[in-house]
């Protein structure tokens, strides 16, 4: 008999989800592609004037990435719920928050990280000043995991539903508002030469808290919605 440790169970979840993403690696690019499409629409709607675009570029990048993340959230539990492996995960003898935390981590790695990687391209398309780019990337590095963690709690609540898209957006929006405000605020402050560390620190504090609490909330929500 070998029961395995919590760490080995989490490793198994991470390994499997990474493998699944690799098998469907074409789909993994979708969020990044979606963010690019959204960003392309703005100059077409607002006109190509560089100064005007530069002024609102940070905000557009964040909104595009938020929307792309929202689009990708649906895949977090849907497949697992449909084929019954979510049940198996819940029945595991290891703590569910840890396993879900691993799932969320992989989800961020496969959707959030690509979004951070395309962010410089998006910024360049919108003429974001080069000097603001570090602030943008730092804010994204803190904000995208938060979006994944908050989103996971809401997805867990809607997991059994067939058409949950609109409802999910409604549930997620109030949770995303503070993240968006601080992340975009940091960039705007950096762009206008103001100190931008404070909002980033707030985001960091929120991330530290959410890393602990969100997987637990996600587990509690999941137990409610699979019953």
């Amino acid at each position: 008999m070998r029961y395995g440790t919590n760490a080995s169970a989490c490793a198994a979840v991470v390994r499997r989800d990474l493998l699944l993403t690799w098998r469907r690696r074409g789909d993994a690019l979708n969020p990044a592609l979606f963010a690019i499409i959204v960003v392309v629409l703005f100059p077409l709607a607002l006109g190509p004037e560089p100064n005007q675009l530069a002024r609102i570029s940070a905000g557009i990048v964040f909104v595009a990435i938020l929307l792309a993340g929202l689009l990708a959230l649906d895949t977090l539990f849907r497949g697992d719920h449909e084929d019954g492996s979510l049940e198996q995960l819940v029945l595991s003898p290891h703590p569910l928050p840890l396993l879900l935390g691993s799932k969320i981590a992989v989800h961020w790695l496969t959707t959030g990280l690509p979004l951070i990687l395309v962010a410089p391209i998006l910024a360049e398309m919108l003429h974001l000043p080069r000097s603001t780019l570090p602030a943008l990337l730092a804010a994204l590095a803190l904000a995208t995991p938060l979006l994944s963690l908050f989103g996971a709690v809401c997805v867990a609540l809607t997991v059994g539903m067939r058409r949950s898209g609109m409802l999910l957006a409604l549930l997620v929006l109030p949770l995303y508002v503070p993240v968006l405000i601080f992340a975009a605020g940091a960039c705007n402050a950096a762009q206008s030469g103001l100190p931008f560390l404070a909002p980033l620190l707030w985001l960091g504090a929120a991330l530290a808290l959410a890393l602990v609490l969100a997987p637990m909330a996600c587990a509690a929500a999941l137990r409610i919605s699979i019953s």
Binding site: G4, S8, R23, G79, D83, P93, S227
Partner: protein, 249 residues
């Protein structure tokens, strides 16, 4: 739902597999009455449900049920569609909180028992990832549930008749073959109690025999199993016997 749950019978059949000398006790109140094989005075049962019931939207789904399951026993739960068999297994596995009554595993409260690796559930869905191979799926199950001694994923696949399919993506397997992969998972994980929801569905004659052999082996190992069936499939091999427990509607 067009049916009134009170009119749906659910019977519980105890199939004593390897220990025919053991007394069997099953008593059910409420919506199903069972003829029992006599009260027992044996040691601590593996699974003990007392007054177990579950309601959805305040409509009773099953229960209150009382039954005990000892090591070496297989309990066949028969009932029509909608009689609450699946719900019963989900309650017993801990996925659903019981509406009333209590479940004890080895004398422990259910949630604690689950933490000590006691229960394996085979649900309606096979719980397999279509993009992964059977071996990869089994590796994941081992990682999350642990591994029984003396068996490997290859051995388990061979014993469910899937030798040579180790590296074929699950999406290319037939429904019956997927079921067999789930059965291989049961063999691998170190659970004393199996909860099998319609294990005979999608299986051919040979597959049904396979399930019965696996159940037999599980009972011989000192494990136990709860099996649901809507009655179309029965134990066909010679060794398991059924106790004539009939539901009265």
């Amino acid at each position: 739902m067009s049916h009134d749950p009170q009119r749906l019978p659910m019977s519980i059949t105890l199939a004593r597999l390897s220990r025919p000398d053991w007394g069997v006790s099953a008593r059910a109140g409420g919506f199903c009455k069972l003829m029992t094989g006599g009260e027992s005075n044996d040691p601590m049962p593996l699974l003990e449900a007392s007054g177990l019931s579950y309601s959805r939207n305040d409509e009773p789904v099953f229960g209150p049920l009382d039954f005990r399951l000892h090591a070496g026993e297989v309990l066949l739960i028969e009932g029509d569609n909608g009689s609450g068999k699946t719900t019963l297994l989900r309650v017993l596995s801990g996925l659903l909180a019981p509406g009333g009554g209590s479940i004890r595993l080895n004398g422990e409260d259910l949630t604690m028992a689950r933490l000590s690796h006691q229960v394996a559930l085979l649900g309606h869905q096979p719980g397999l990832k279509a993009d992964l191979t059977p071996l990869e799926n089994l590796d994941f199950a081992i990682g999350v549930f642990g591994l029984r001694g003396g068996i490997t994923p290859h051995l388990a696949l061979a014993s469910v008749g899937l030798e040579g399919y180790e590296e074929v993506p699950v999406r290319q397997l037939s429904a019956g073959q997927k079921k067999r992969v789930s059965l291989a998972r049961l063999l691998l994980v170190p659970a004393a109690l199996w909860l099998l929801d319609e294990p005979y569905a999608n299986l051919d004659r040979e597959g049904i025999d396979l399930v019965n052999r696996l159940l037999d082996a599980q009972a011989r190992r000192g494990g136990a199993a709860l099996v649901t069936s809507h009655g179309a499939y029965v134990f066909t091999t010679g060794s398991p016997r059924r106790l004539p427990l009939r539901a009265t509607a």
